[in-house]
């Protein structure tokens, strides 16, 4: 069924938005495959975003784990995370659709930043909705967005976090679909967004496949990626879905503990539900009210898991895992010391899982971690955690 991954997905939005979704789907199917679009996007990915990103054989982490650990260096993409891959693609698409304005939401600020960049590259106005709590926690990214000339609109409905910002962006979009594109930042939302975002992010896995074959002469034994909506994970996984021998691990935010309201582990604690236009794995209470998620990584602080990811975890192709906040901070420290690389708190979830689950990885296995972003945005949080104040 169109826009479905197994039972997940769909288009659960107000009638007002249906036209925009149809228009977007049609435009994507028409424009994306054209050589001109591919060429323009390819050049921007290469020269602006900095692709291909390296695949780095991490000697320090390899020693610590006994595996051959590789890091797919999405932290080196302009702006510091994988987010720009998708933003450049959608911004180009929106411009060809004749839109003049981009709106979106952001939690960690990485997607907002990437949207602001992409907007400036294609010459479109940008407005970013951001929960008031996230604006505090990720103040440095707010500053970056402002410097880039984006309008940052605080969202104080709900808990003032990502899920509320998504709702507000959908509401804003309903007002102005004619001129405005909602540049969805992860593989969530109503069809065709999950498909579009995964398509633009799958450049990660295509490069990765070629690189690991060059380096090891074979496919990896496992790929580990963090996520909430799932865009960096699917970006890395999609090229390997048919390769049964490649184990795929998805690491979500365990938060403080799996108790009550201290977690973002939707695969552990949620069940299928509809939010923001799609049926997906969802943190919710017994009445179907969406529960706020909790994790120190703003970018993983979302109660839903994108439909494709929900499906892949339901079928068992992808293994859903989690890492707790304290493990994540330790993994940041370990990676800083062992590799000289400062990972984003989100990314550190994947690293923490690798470091703390020797039972999953045998000695000598080739394990790729999708190093989705750098931790500069988390500097204040990290300093407070490690040094107090």
């Amino acid at each position: 069924m169109k826009g479905r991954f197994g039972r997940f997905g769909g288009q659960y939005v107000s009638e007002v938005l249906m036209h925009a979704l149809e228009e977007l789907e049609e435009a994507f199917e028409r424009i994306y495959p054209t050589p001109e679009f591919q060429r323009e996007l390819g050049l921007l990915l290469r020269d602006y975003a900095g692709r291909p990103t390296p695949l780095y054989h991490a000697r320090g982490l390899s020693e610590l784990t006994g595996c051959r650990v590789y890091l797919k260096r999405e932290d080196l993409v302009t702006g510091g995370s994988h987010k720009l891959n998708n933003c450049l693609g959608q911004a180009l698409l929106a411009r060809r659709m004749g839109k003049t304005r981009l709106i979106t939401e952001t939690a960690a600020g990485q997607h907002g930043l990437a949207t602001a960049m992409a907007g400036n590259v294609v010459g479109m106005e940008v407005e970013i909705f951001m929960g008031v709590k996230d604006m505090e926690r990720q103040a440095s990214n707010v500053k970056r967005m402002l410097l880039l000339g984006a309008k940052v609109t605080p969202v104080s409905t709900g808990s003032g976090v990502l899920k509320d910002a998504v709702s507000d962006t959908l509401r804003e979009w309903a007002r102005c679909t004619g001129t405005t594109h909602y540049l969805m930042g992860s593989t969530v939302g109503p069809h065709p967004f999950p498909e579009i975002v995964a398509t633009f992010q799958s450049v990660i896995g295509r490069e990765l496949r070629q690189q690991i074959l060059e380096r090891e002469g074979r496919l990896p034994d496992a790929i580990v990626a963090c996520g909430s909506g799932g865009s960096n994970a699917l970006g890395a996984f999609r090229a390997f879905l048919q390769d049964e021998g490649v184990r795929l691990y998805f690491v979500e935010g365990g938060g403080e503990s799996l108790e009550a309201d201290n977690s973002a582990a939707a695969f552990r604690l949620g069940r299928p539900g509809v939010l923001h236009g799609a049926l997906m794995q969802l943190l919710q209470d017994e009445h179907g009210q969406v529960k706020p998620s909790k994790t120190r990584a703003a970018g993983l602080n979302y109660p839903g898991r994108g439909p494709e990811l929900s499906h892949l975890c339901e079928t068992g192709r992808v293994k859903a895992c989690h890492a707790f906040d304290r493990e994540v901070f330790e993994a940041v420290r370990t990676t800083c010391r062992a590799e000289g690389l400062l990972p984003a708190l989100e990314t550190a979830h994947a690293l923490a899982f690798l470091l703390n689950h020797p039972e999953e990885f045998s000695r000598g296995e080739v394990v790729v971690v999708n190093f989705s972003g750098r931790g500069d945005k988390d500097l204040e949080t990290l300093m407070r955690y490690f040094y107090g104040a």
Partner: protein, 269 residues
């Protein structure tokens, strides 16, 4: 009371239907009971009773706040159905449409939800995040219980989709006159009038216009444009929202407001 009959009757009388929309439990269940009685007494012809949801993406600031307050007051979907049952026992006669977001329904189970809704005494469902493409399952459950599933059309709805919607609709069509979300607006947009004409050409179903209606003049214009009635929501919540410590104090103003709207539905075309 039967929904179609009531609309038929109003049409015969040359009168527009007035459907107030309230989120139950805002700011407390007790107030909602009094509010609904006030609306019924003030001349409401139908009632849209909302089950609050945590993430009401089709609603504007007034109703977002209403949902938050109702949830904070501990309101649950079952509590809402229970309340409707009580309202019926106490003599509420209007046809009632239950409104909520799809996840609330899904969470209880489609069949169970529809059965409970019928038992509570409602005549239909409005699910603002369920476009016709996703509606087949719920449609089946609703029909099984004799409930209408009300569909919406909007200025952005293409002709092709409009036909598909009309093909599945029953009860009435909810015509969203503006692009955007719920919320009282000062002016009606010309697109609303244009849309009403477009829909009328396709169907003889009653058309209820909603989103942004806040004045008797709006009602008059919409009925002139071909609507069979109007939905008024945020404009009511806005009145009591301004005195949340003692919302009962606003009931006289609300009563006056509803009467003025009902009056407008009777103005000759």
């Amino acid at each position: 009371m039967e929904l179609e009959k009531r609309l038929e009757e109003l049409r015969r009388r040359g009168e527009g239907a007035l459907m107030p929309h309230v989120y139950f439990g805002d700011p407390s269940p007790a107030f909602s009971f009094r509010l609904i009685r006030t609306l019924a007494e003030g001349g409401a012809d139908l009632l849209e009773l909302g089950i609050p949801f945590s993430d009401p993406i089709a609603d504007g600031p007034t109703f977002i706040a209403a949902c938050e307050r109702a949830l904070a007051a501990g309101v649950t979907p079952r509590g809402c159905l229970e309340a409707l049952r009580r309202l019926r026992e106490e003599g509420l006669h209007l046809p009632v449409l239950l409104t909520t977001y799809y996840n609330v329904i899904l969470s209880m189970g489609l069949g169970k939800f529809c059965a409970e809704v019928r038992r509570a005494g409602a005549q239909g469902l409005i699910v603002p995040d369920l476009p016709v493409e996703e509606a087949d399952e719920l449609l089946e459950s609703a029909r099984g219980e004799g409930l209408h599933l009300i569909f919406q059309v909007a200025p952005t709805t293409s002709g092709r989709r409009m036909e598909r919607i009309v093909g599945k609709a029953s009860g009435f069509l909810y015509v969203i006159g503006v692009e955007g979300v719920t919320g009282a607006r000062e002016e009606l947009e010309p697109s609303t009038v244009e849309l009403m004409g477009r829909v009328r050409r396709l169907t003889s179903l009653p058309l209820l216009a909603g989103f942004g209606i806040s004045r008797p003049e709006h009602v008059v214009s919409l009925l002139r444009a071909g609507a069979d009635g109007c939905v008024v929501g945020s404009a009511i919540a806005r009145i009591y929202s301004e005195r949340l410590e003692e919302p009962e104090q606003t009931l006289p103003s609300i009563s006056k407001f509803v009467r003025s709207l009902k009056e407008a539905t009777r103005s000759p075309p």
